[in-house]
């Protein structure tokens, strides 16, 4: 088991290196001068030579490519992701201020999705007929709902019409805990609707597949109660693919916050990302992309290790 974990972490570390290389290559290996690329407004006018020179100096673009790559990697490892073009703040500091808010939102939405999705999927798998059809239809719709449309509808219904919850914004926990939590509900639900539908679908097909396995028939043939068969021989085995979906989905949710934070005007990491993309503040964009990718890879490692705990056959 220990060797298994070490292997997974090593593979993950290799992947991080590849990802960093890709991000580096995205800017530096495209044809043309990266400084010109970053300064162009997309309207065909060339940036001034002075601005280009200044940027080249700031980004160290005058150094040889290998040195630039090396400095980039060292920077990432030591936590130096450069400074913002716009605010001239350290990128790491801006990220650190925003990241916890986004993580809180994503964790809340994930827990909500698990709590809704797994029971719903199990129910659909066990009861065929009308229950299954209803749940399947609901999940089809849930998967198809774009967060920015559903989020807007939530705002319309719960804050504009009913006035129960705030339409958006952010209140710090130490300022007003109740307002803080209230502010989480709508964005959390908006994020969770698609995710819980995905979990429900996966649970349904996984449970159905396991129910047809021979060992379930064996358990029945030894007179175990239906509940025991379901809990110990169906759900326990069906869990492995669901864990994978939850792990992957966590990453997708991180992405979806880009839209949700815009809808609810929520000042998290993703809204910083969108602002930075709009103003072409490349160091900040790059920093956030690195942080999110590393988080995503780490979650996948955790999922892999969990997988090993859940299924003795993959442990090696």
């Amino acid at each position: 088991m220990f060797a298994f974990i070490v292997t997974r972490v090593a593979v993950g570390a290799g992947l991080v290196l590849l990802v960093l290389t890709l991000i580096f290559a995205a800017l530096h290996l495209v044809p043309g001068d990266p400084a010109v690329l970053l300064l162009s407004r997309g309207d065909g006018t060339a940036p001034s030579q002075a601005a280009v020179d200044a940027l080249r100096g700031q980004l160290g673009l005058n150094q040889p490519l290998v040195a630039q790559y090396w400095n980039f990697l060292i920077g990432v490892v030591t936590g130096d992701l450069g400074t913002s073009f716009r605010t001239h703040e350290a990128v790491v500091a801006s990220i650190a201020g925003r990241l916890p808010r986004t993580l809180e939102l994503v964790v809340f939405a994930t827990l909500l999705s698990i709590a809704v999705g797994i029971p719903l999927g199990t129910l659909a798998a066990r009861r065929r007929g009308a229950v299954d059809t209803t749940i399947s239809t609901l999940t089809s719709i849930g998967v198809a709902l774009p967060v920015f449309v559903f989020g807007s509808v939530l705002v319309l219904a719960f804050s504009i019409w009913l006035g129960w919850l705030p339409a958006g914004g952010f209140t710090a926990w130490n300022q007003d805990p109740v307002a803080h939590l209230k502010g989480l509900i709508l964005p959390g639900v908006a994020l969770a609707v698609g995710f819980s539908a995905i979990i429900a679908r996966m649970t349904r097909s996984s449970v159905q597949e396991v129910m047809n396995q021979d060992w379930v028939r064996t358990a029945k043939s030894f007179g175990l109660s239906p509940f025991r068969v379901l809990r110990r021989h169906v759900l326990r085995n069906a869990l492995t693919p669901i864990v994978t979906v939850v792990g992957l989905g966590f990453g997708v949710l991180l992405g979806s916050t880009v839209l949700v934070e815009r809808v609810f005007n929520y000042p998290g990491l993703s809204s910083l990302l969108v602002e930075s993309v709009s103003t072409r503040d490349y160091p900040v964009v790059q920093g956030i992309v690195i942080v999110i990718a590393v988080m995503f890879i780490s979650i996948n490692i955790v999922v892999d290790v969990l997988y090993g705990f859940l299924d003795p056959r993959v442990r090696r």
Partner: protein
């Protein structure tokens, strides 16, 4: 046998959905003929007109532009990008997956571990934003970026299928009888590995519309004034309390379209991929 499979797969609901998809495709081609008005023509006196009044079937937006016409032209851009990106990702992903699954070893590591896993290490929208920052928004960027983003899905499906088909004895027979590698890969393995890919095509179109409309919503996808569904929703959100139809109409169309391609995918799976079929 297969005709009864068709009959079971084509429920009345699904026939309606397929009809909707066909209409969308017709609109995509014929938008200039079908649209009742110029999608860019402003009429400030008619701003925020509600649907079914003054000849505005689906109402007018904040600049008095006809929402139905804008949706039709939007469908054009939307489907062009979504279909283009999906086609690109399918070709790219299928080749990657086929190579990885067929040859194994170093080729497998390079394709499935390096290329696919690196792309999958990002939430899709994040990688798209990185690309937009560097190369600017617009349909070209979107098709290329989404083509790359969705390729891993196809690569993984084809890879898995190739691995299992390759173990079939008829493939071993082809190899042992001395069929050329290209023949074995493309004429023997690929046709038997492609059913889930076709199913996935429809689902990926849905995912591409979802992603594209999201980027346009952020103002980072299709650039105004070209009408696009996502940016129409974004504009609508500013008038949410007074004129919700400006948001709800395009939002509804986005949901319906994604739903339709999803349902189409389910129908295709029931017909093409009996292994995935649940009830015996």
């Amino acid at each position: 046998m297969s005709s009864s499979r068709w009959a079971r797969a084509l429920t009345p609901f699904r026939i309606v959905v397929i009809g909707y998809v066909l209409i969308l495709v017709a609109v995509m081609i014929l938008a200039p003929v079908l649209a009742p008005a110029d999608p860019l023509a402003q009429n400030v006196t008619k701003r925020l007109t509600v649907p079914l009044t003054d000849g505005y079937i689906l109402g007018a937006d904040e600049l008095g532009r006809d929402i139905l016409s804008r949706l039709m032209y939007g469908a054009r851009v939307e489907l062009f990008i979504a279909l283009g990106a999906t086609l690109a990702s399918m070709v790219l992903g299928t080749i990657i997956g086929l190579l990885g699954g067929y040859f194994g070893g170093l080729v497998e590591t390079l394709t499935m571990r390096v290329i696919v896993d690196v792309i999958l290490a990002f939430p899709p929208i994040i990688l798209a934003l990185l690309a937009v920052t560097l190369y600017g928004p617009g349909p070209g960027t979107l098709i290329v970026v989404m083509g790359v983003l969705f390729a891993p899905t196809f690569a993984r499906i084809t890879y898995g299928q190739t691995l299992s088909v390759k173990r079939e004895e008829y493939v071993e027979a082809a190899i042992a009888f001395g069929a050329k590698t290209v023949t074995t890969m493309f004429r023997v393995v690929l046709p038997n590995a492609s059913a889930p890919t076709i199913v996935r095509f429809s689902l990926t179109v849905a995912a591409a519309i979802l992603l594209e409309s999201g980027l346009s919503y952020l103002g980072l996808g299709v650039v105004p004034p070209t009408p696009s569904w996502g940016s129409m929703v974004a504009q609508g959100s500013r008038y949410l309390s007074s004129s919700p139809h400006v948001l709800l109409v395009p939002g509804g169309v986005v949901v319906l379209t994604i739903l339709a391609f999803g349902v189409l995918g389910d129908a295709l799976r029931d017909v093409l991929d009996p292994k995935e079929k649940r009830r015996s």
